[in-house]
Amino acid sequence: MSAKKGLHLTLKIWRQKNTKTKGQFETYKISDVSTDSSFLEMLDILNENLINDGKEPIAFDHDCREGICGMCSLYINGRAHGPDTGITTCQLHMRMFKDGETIVIEPWRSAAFPVIKDLMVDRSAFDRVMAAGGFISVNTSGNTLDANAIPVPKEDADKAMDAAACIGCGACVATCKNGSAMLFVGAKVSQYALLPQGRVEATRRVLNMVKAMDDEGFGNCSNTGACEVECPKGISLENIARMNREYMAAYADRG
């Protein structure tokens, strides 16, 4: 539309047929990418070119393209969700890149997230951790108290909301040298620990979720804080500390 300068780029992209085969980098050239385009739109254009050349397009995960579903991933130039901070890959725009640049694109790399194809990984381990206790055990029949019968101090509600904002993207795991899922699990544990409704089963919850997390093969947290830096939703390390406190208390409680 408006006459903006198009970028010419070299892309080194990880290609892998499926979980069982070995992958390798392939190099692609792309030109005339608008600086207004998002990173994923740039990949769309590349895919369109590949299809026109009779080649298989690159598989990558995405859905909402609004930074909220947590589906997009990508390690871009060595960083989860690319060079900008506080955003997901779908919100990364090409104005962050320079003409003539080479961009390296890889999938999340973590033992708990096996590659499905190309840039797509399997994050269902997160779902299994949630099924182990990431909920409040209340029936969904609607036979509950009036909502205002459970007052929650605004500060607590806001903090719970900040923790609840996690989108389950897995950048924290991908960026952690130990592949730890503590930020993700800590966020969920914190949300419920901060709300009166969640207190009743807090002990069971944290024990079960931490066990599930370990069973899935996520590594341990060594407090380097890389996860917090790359988290698109600004989930803070405070949540890991709160989870540890909850865990210690629960562990002691358990005897």
């Binding site: 369109e48 299809i51 969904t140 909502a147």
Partner: protein
């Protein structure tokens, strides 16, 4: 013969649902595990339904195409969810929510359904709070509310700008609990491609495992479709990229009627299109209209200067701004319903006042400067700051805005590289929500016995226009509180049926059909990608079945879509294999269905010789440019019956809409 029996229970409006529940058949707890239910979709509607049905003791199999149920498109809803709680004591009630919804929908929704929705709305909030949804609160620890377009009370509950996310995570947590107990079998990365009907009843589906490419058979005593809306027929929309119509369209082809397909909501506050490489449009929540004022320059030369980059909006004086919504609709101002706001914006841009500096020349301003100063002053008083400087006021006001809408402002800045605290946002209408969908009766059952449809995928509660914050309400009402009752009534006849076998000729035939199509796509030696056709379709739809529709345009669209369909089947090129992950193949299946649906939308829009809600026919407008409804001839739901490959042969059935409890009036927001 028409199968349209709406099954609306008798009795006074406010007792219908209660009476109905009292008299429905039940399935006893010890019999529920003899019954299997398939739920397609795990958004608010499907997720809440699957969790609740499992909790009641049925065996549930749930499907979604994403890698996790937590990513369903409901996650993207920003603004909030309505409920008639009257916590603010501003006169809200079940009746008022019901009334606003019917009126907002331009009197094209079913009275009994909407009343039930309003009735259960208060319960939804209770339920979600007990599940740990962190709604916004005031300092007394009580729930806070905001207001949305088309209403004059504050009834919208919110969780920052991430209400849909929090509600969905609430439903997902309940679903997770049932998955953990083994009550729900969850099929992630699975797409339903066909419905299987045995002896006239929905008895299963054919799904494709998107990771392995395997075609699978799944049987059940009932099938629930909760697959969301079809806005992506326009290619560019606010919907997630994978949102599609396939599940709904497949059941339509198997006998479910499709109602009011032409009712599409065009949302007034989206970020304008920036270029031809664009894949998706982004919504800026309607809640922003509580604080933002919408305007374009009064003088056309100012608009031209802005477009040419010679003038900044901040430099246009107050008296040279046209706050056209406040001017035209003094009673509601910037809070008129979406259809009205969208059309008014289009009208200004068509008249040459648009401000975007690209070839579309579209876009209007959403300006927060007045609110920033107003809230800044209020905040200064509250904080006992006497004689605050302009800068102090601005900073306090900015902090207030940030607390309320911070994430939206960040999102806007990332996309446009403009700072909306300093310069007004640019917005323009975009395709957002589809009020049409599969026809269902009061029990949410389609015209196929045993096939239920919930959430945005059905047509039921919003009429020709949906008021803000009511889709979330409908999704959860259907899933938590309506379907679990009504489906039991149907299933009570099935406790002796036993498991439904998947080796029947019906399953064989359905599977073969899908396998043939898969093979066709990957082997077709075409020359154009799936997106190429999708964009062509989208272009026709936006220009001719979009915000303003004319009979000529619609007739052209019907013919042009035929052409796209022919070319698609001749010339589509799908790279990759039948086995393993193949995202192009997924798209091909979806676009094939969008093409057919698009044509039906044009046909429906052509037959409806009136304007109502999202359906604005330029040949049916008042001299002031307002929509002109025709209640005498069109006060009905138009439900289409499939008649084979040529969509032009679909047969129209009418369900008359009867309003016993409210007076049908012209819709005015003046």
């Amino acid at each position: 013969m028409s199968k349209l029996d709406s099954k609306i229970p008798g009795g006074p409006l406010k007792d219908k649902w209660k009476n109905h529940k009292d008299h429905m058949n039940l399935v006893a707890p010890n019999n529920r595990d003899k019954i299997d239910i398939i739920v397609v979709g795990t958004g608010l509607a499907g997720g809440s339904a699957a969790a609740t049905l499992a909790e009641q003791g049925y065996n549930v199999k749930a499907f979604c195409y994403q890698d996790s149920p937590r990513r369903a498109h409901s996650i993207a809803a920003q603004g909030g969810i309505n409920a008639a709680k009257n916590y603010q004591g501003d006169g809200d009630s079940t009746y008022r929510l019901f009334y606003d919804t019917i009126k907002g929908g331009d009197y094209r929704a079913r009275e009994a359904n909407v009343y039930r929705l309003a009735e259960v709305s208060a319960n939804i909030i209770d339920q979600c709070v007990s599940q740990g949804v962190p709604f916004g609160r005031d300092y007394g620890g009580q729930l806070d509310n905001r207001s949305f377009g088309g209403v004059q009370v504050k009834r919208t509950f919110y969780a920052k700008g991430q209400t849909g996310q929090q509600l969905l995570l609430g439903a997902y947590s309940s679903l997770s609990r049932q998955i953990g107990k083994g009550r729900v079998q969850m099929f992630n990365r699975h797409e339903m491609l066909e419905l299987v009907i045995v002896d006239g009843k929905a008895r299963g589906i054919i799904a494709r495992n998107l990771v392995t490419g395997e075609i699978e058979r799944h049987s059940a005593h009932a099938v629930v479709i909760a697959s969301g809306g079809y806005g992506n027929v326009y290619f560019l929309s606010t919907n997630a990229m994978g949102s599609n119509v396939s599940a709904a369209w497949k059941i339509h082809k198997k006998g479910a009627y499709f109602a009011n397909p032409c009712y599409v909501q065009i949302h007034p506050t989206c970020i304008p299109v920036h270029g031809t490489q664009q894949s998706k449009l982004t919504l800026m929540s309607e809640s922003l209209r509580n604080s933002g004022r919408i305007w374009v320059p009064k003088k056309i030369e100012d608009s031209v200067a802005i477009r040419e980059g010679k003038l900044r909006p901040e430099n246009i004086k107050e008296e040279d701004r046209d706050y056209y919504l406040e001017r035209r609709y003094p009673a509601f101002g910037n809070l008129v319903p979406r259809d009205v706001a969208s059309r008014a914006g289009k009208e200004r841009c068509d008249a040459g006042f648009g401000i975007e500096n690209n070839e579309t020349k579209e876009g209007v301003y959403l300006d927060f400067s007045t609110e920033i100063m107003k809230k800044g002053k209020e905040s200064a008083i509250e904080k006992h700051i006497h004689n605050p400087t302009e800068q102090q006021i601005y900073d306090l006001g900015k902090a207030w805005i940030e607390e309320k809408y911070g994430n939206l402002f960040v999102m806007y800045e990332k996309i446009t590289a403009d700072d909306p605290y300093k310069t007004p946002m640019k917005i323009y209408p975009a395709v957002h929500y589809t009020m049409g969908g599969v026809w269902v009766d009061y029990n949410l059952q389609s015209t196929i016995p045993g096939c239920f449809v919930v959430g945005e995928a059905n047509f039921s509660d919003h009429g020709a226009n949906r008021l803000g914050a009511s889709a979330l309400m409908q999704g959860l009402a259907d899933g938590y509180f309506v379907l679990p009752y009504t489906i039991a009534d149907y299933l009570s006849a099935d406790i002796r049926t036993g498991q439904i076998p998947t080796n029947s000729p019906e399953f064989d035939a359905a599977e073969k059909e899908i396998k043939d199509k898969v093979n066709f796509f990957v082997n077709n030696k075409g020359t154009h990608s799936v997106d190429y056709f999708h964009k062509q379709l989208g272009h026709i739809m936006w220009n001719k079945v979009g915000m303003g529709r004319t009979p000529e345009g619609l007739r052209e669209a019907i013919v042009e879509i035929d052409e796209v369909k022919k070319n698609f089947w001749k010339d589509v090129k799908v790279m990759g294999e039948t086995e393993g992950m193949n995202t192009e193949l997924e798209k091909a299946f979806r676009v094939a269905d969008f093409i057919e649906l698009g044509q039906l939308m044009a046909i429906d829009a052509l037959h409806r010789n009136e304007s109502c809600g999202g359906h604005f026919r330029e040949d049916h407008a008042t001299p002031e440019g307002e929509a002109e409804r025709d209640d005498v001839n069109f006060k009905y739901v138009g439900a289409w019956e499939y008649q084979g490959d040529d969509i032009k042969h679909e047969v129209l059935h009418k369900e008359d809409l009867i309003y016993d409890n409210i007076e049908v009036k012209a819709r005015s927001y003046k």
